[in-house]
C-alpha cells in the first residue's frame, strides 16, 4: 500500500522514504512470523500439561469410578481379584521421603551454612561443585551402588549396630534383610541433599550483610550471628528448600525401586521392606495385563502428580518470599 502511495505524482516533497517501504514490509512480516513461531512453542507447553493431566485422568477413570477415594485408604493390592488399595504405597512414599529428609536436612543445612558463612573463599566453589555432581548421577546408578555396596554394608554392620543400641524402639526391631525402608531412605537422603544444599545456599547468600554485621557488632560469636540473625531471616526460604527436596524424594523412582524391597506391606520396623508409589508404577506397569490393574497404576501416577505439584508450589512460594529477584528457586531446578 505504501508503495502505491509513494508512486502517486501528487507527492510534492522529495521522497527519501522510497527506499524504506520494501525492507519495512519484509521486516514486519518477519516479525509476525517470528512471533508466531515463538508463540506456538510457548503455547505448546501449557497444552502439553493439559494433555498430561487429561491422559492421566482418563487413564485412571476406570479405577476412580470403581474405588473412588477408598483407593487412598485401603490396603489390599490384588491384581488377580482386581482389588486395589494404595494406602501402603502412599505410606511408603511418605515414610521413605520423610526418612530421607531427617537424614539429609541437618547435613545439607550444615554444609550450606558452612559454605556461605565460615568456609575459606577458596574452597566454597569447589565443594559446592562436588556436591552438585551428586545431583548429576543418574538414579539408576545410585540403585546399582545401593544394591551392591550400600546394602551389604548396612546389613553387616550398620543395621545390627542400630538394633543393638536402639532396639528398644519398634523402629529398629525385627529381622534384617537388606532391602528395606531404611536403605531406601538413606539412598534418597544422598540424592536430595544436593538440591536442599544448593537452594538453601542461594537463600543464605541473599541475606543482606547488614544482618550479620549488626549481630557481630552486638558482640555475638560468629555462630550466634548465624543462628540469631542470618538463619531466621532466611527461614521461609530454607523451609522452601527442604520442601523442594521433599518433592524430589516423593517422585524418585529407580534407586528406591532397587532398594526398598517392593512389598505391599506396612511395617513398624525400618528394617522391613516396603513399597512406594513410583516404585509400584515402575515395577508393575509394563507387566500389568488387566485394564483395572493398569488403571489403578495410572490412578497412583495421578495422585503422585497432584501431590508433587502441591509440594513444589509450596516450596516455590516460600523460596520466592526470601530470595525475590535473586532467582534462587529457578536456578536450583
Amino acid at each position: 500500500m505504501t508503495t502505491t502511495l509513494a508512486q502517486e505524482p501528487v507527492a510534492t516533497a522529495p521522497e527519501p522514504e522510497r527506499h524504506e517501504p520494501p525492507p519495512l514490509e519484509l521486516a514486519s512480516y518477519g516479525d509476525l512470523v517470528f512471533r508466531w513461531l515463538l508463540t506456538l512453542a510457548a503455547a505448546a507447553i501449557p497444552v502439553l500439561l493439559g494433555f498430561l493431566v487429561y491422559e492421566l485422568w482418563s487413564g485412571s477413570r476406570l479405577a476412580i469410578d470403581r474405588f473412588g477415594f477408598d483407593f487412598v485408604t485401603t490396603s489390599r493390592w490384588d491384581p488377580v481379584a482386581e482389588e486395589f488399595g494404595a494406602f501402603p504405597l502412599i505410606f511408603g512414599t511418605l515414610a521413605s521421603s520423610l526418612l530421607a529428609l531427617v537424614i539429609a536436612v541437618p547435613l545439607s543445612l550444615g554444609v550450606a551454612i558452612y559454605l556461605t558463612e565460615f568456609a575459606p573463599k577458596a574452597i566454597r566453589q569447589p565443594v559446592a561443585f562436588l556436591i552438585g555432581l551428586l545431583a548429576a548421577i543418574p538414579s539408576v546408578v545410585y540403585g546399582l551402588w545401593g544394591i551392591f555396596v550400600l546394602i551389604p554394608l548396612l546389613r553387616t554392620s550398620v543395621f545390627p549396630f542400630l538394633r543393638d543400641t536402639l532396639g528398644f524402639l519398634p523402629l529398629f526391631q525385627g529381622p534384617i534383610y537388606g532391602p528395606s525402608m531404611l536403605s531406601a531412605g538413606i539412598i534418597l537422603a544422598i540424592m536430595v541433599m544436593p538440591y536442599i544444599m544448593s537452594v538453601s545456599r542461594e537463600v543464605l547468600m541473599a541475606v543482606p550483610d547488614t544482618q550479620r554485621e549488626a549481630a557481630l557488632a552486638l558482640g555475638a560469636t560468629r555462630w550466634e550471628a548465624v543462628i540469631t540473625a542470618v538463619v531466621p531471616y532466611a527461614r521461609s526460604g530454607i523451609i522452601g528448600a527442604v520442601i523442594l527436596g521433599l518433592g524430589r524424594a516423593l517422585g524418585e523412582t529407580m534407586a528406591v525401586t532397587m532398594l526398598i524391597g517392593n512389598r505391599h506391606e506396612i511395617a513398624a520396623s525400618l528394617f522391613a521392606p516396603g513399597y512406594t508409589m513410583a516404585a509400584a508404577i515402575a515395577n508393575e506397569f509394563s507387566e500389568a495385563v488387566g485394564d483395572m490393574h493398569l488403571s489403578a497404576l495410572a490412578y497412583v501416577a495421578f495422585l503422585l502428580f497432584v501431590v508433587t505439584v502441591l509440594v513444589n508450589a509450596c516450596a516455590r512460594l516460600l523460596i520466592w518470599r526470601v530470595a525475590r529477584g535473586s532467582g534462587a528457586g529457578s536456578k536450583a531446578l
Partner: protein
Amino acid sequence: MNRRTLRRLVSNVMVGLMILAVVVALLPLFFILFDLVIQGAGSLSVAFFTKMPAPAGEMGGGVAHAIVGTLLIVGAASLIGLPVGIAAGIYCAEYPGSRLTWTTRFVADVLNGTPSIVVGVFAWAWIVATQKHFSAVAGSAALAMLMIPMVLRTTEEMIKLVPNSLREAALALGYPRWRTSLAIVVRTTMPGIVTGSLLAVARIAGETAPLLFTALGSQYMSLDLNQPMAALPLTVFTYATGPYEEWHRYAWAAALVLILVVFVLSVGARLAIRRRFSLNG
C-alpha cells in the same frame, strides 16, 4: 568456665560439626565414583562397545545395542525438545509482559517438579496405548517433555542477562525485532543456551523411569524408532537386578560408561560457560 569461653566453645563446636557434615556429604560421591571405576573399568573392552550381549550366563559380549539405542532415543528427544524449549525460552524472555509468558513459565515450573515416572505414564497413555506396542519414539517423547522445561528456564535466564541497551542499539540501527532477537540477543547468549542444552541432554541421558514402559528395552540391535529399543540406563537396571554374576559386571561397566557421558556433558557445559562469560566480561 566463664560465659564468654562457653559461648566461644559452642561456636567452635558447631563449626566443627559443620565441617563434619561437609565430609559426610562428600563421602558418597567419592565412594560411588571409586566403586564404579573399581568394579566397572575391568569389564570395559573393545567388545563391550562393539558386540551384542551374549546369551544369559555366558561370557563375552557387549552392550553395543544399548549404546546405539541411547544415542538414538536421546537424539530424537533432543530434536524435539531443544527447539521447542529454546523457542519458548526466547518467547518468555523477549515478550515478558504477555499472559502466555506467565502461564508458560508457571507450567514449566510445574513440569520441572513432575516425577519422570509420571511423564513416562503419560507417554505410555499417549503413544504406546494408542499404537498398541512399545516404541522408542514414546521414550523420546517422554524425555523431550522432561527436557523442554529445563531448556526453557535456562534459555530465559540467560537472555535476561542481555542488557537492554544492546537491543535498543540494534533497533535504533533499523534492525527489525526478529533480527534483533536472533542476531543480537540470541547470539550474545549462545554459549549460555548451549550450556543449558548440554545440561538438559546430560540429565535425560541417565533417565530410566520414563523408558521402562515406553522404549521397554531389547536384547537386539534396533535402528527402528517405532520398535522397542535398548538404552544404557535400562541395561544397567536389568543387569543389576538380574540373577547372573556376569550381568552384574556388565551393569557396573555400563553404569561407568553412562556416568562418564553424563559427567563429561555436564562438567564440560559448566566449564564452557564460565570461560566464555568471563571473557565477555
